[in-house]
């Protein structure tokens, strides 16, 4: 699967980028499947995240009982430890040409997150990812640990 990076604005010009007022991030829409149809959310491919972690507001909508869910801590951006409640879910990721559906135990962060964090457990353990900086693209391919389902719909062009 191929995903273009998402351009996101920043308030101040970024010196490291020659004063540009936006940054590119490898953000992809990912969906939690369940008895309820939840909206897809954006997730940032994040090799610094231990776990795959979703914003808390989705847990309520999924009906996850955070009071009884297993608790733990995961490292996210900058090595910050955050408290997380875990639940098993089914995830769906697609670039529009093919889709991958798999089961994973993911966290719901007790701190607010702008995006889901697609970290090692639950995501990077199952997918090999190439970040193509010059092309601003993320290439995501299932690896041998992926135990889910692949659905092919169309062949992408060059």
């Amino acid at each position: 699967m191929k995903f273009s990076y998402l351009r996101l604005p920043v308030r101040q010009p970024t010196p490291a980028l020659g004063g540009r007022r936006f940054r590119y991030r490898p953000v992809v829409p990912i969906q939690i499947l369940g008895p309820l149809t939840l909206p897809p959310v954006d997730g940032c491919i994040d090799c610094a995240a231990d776990d795959t972690v979703f914003p808390l507001h989705l847990a309520t909508r999924l009906g996850v009982d955070l009071a009884t869910a297993p608790k733990g801590q995961a490292k996210v951006v900058g090595g910050t430890l955050v408290n997380v409640s875990y639940a098993p879910v089914t995830l769906l990721l697609s670039d529009g040409f093919e889709a991958f559906e798999w089961n994973a135990v993911v966290g719901f962060a007790t701190v607010p997150l702008r995006w889901a964090l697609l970290g090692h457990a639950g995501f990077l353990d199952f997918f090999d990812v190439q970040l193509l900086g010059a092309r601003r693209e993320a290439m995501v391919a299932p690896n041998t640990a992926f135990g889910g389902q692949r659905i092919v719909y169309a062949t992408p062009g060059p």
Binding site: F3, S4, L6, R7, L8, P9, V10, R11, R21, F22, V27, P29, L33, P35, L36, T37, L38, P39, P40, V41, D42, P55, L56, H57, L58, A59, T60, R61, V76, V77, L92, S94, D95, G96, F97, E98, A99, T110, V111, P112, L113, R114, W115, I151, Y153, A154
Partner: protein, 88 residues
Amino acid sequence: MPLDMPRYLEMRRRFLANRAAFPVEELEKYMGQWVAWSPDGTRVAANAQNPALLDGILLACGEDPALCVIEGIPGDDDLLGVADEGGP
């Protein structure tokens, strides 16, 4: 609810192509807020300070919340947002 996969994939393909071309200057208006993208990725269908409010706004606009990708547009806080605690 089972997905209509061909329709889902077609929608996702259109969404990704259109959103990649969305002007970043336009997105600046929503910094620090939560947005719900239109299913085809051409526009921001709803925005709010709290993600729990998005469904109601989308329904009022005649959009299906289940088809709209939700995202927090970073403000000064970058990754960590606000008003996400507790949920709906």
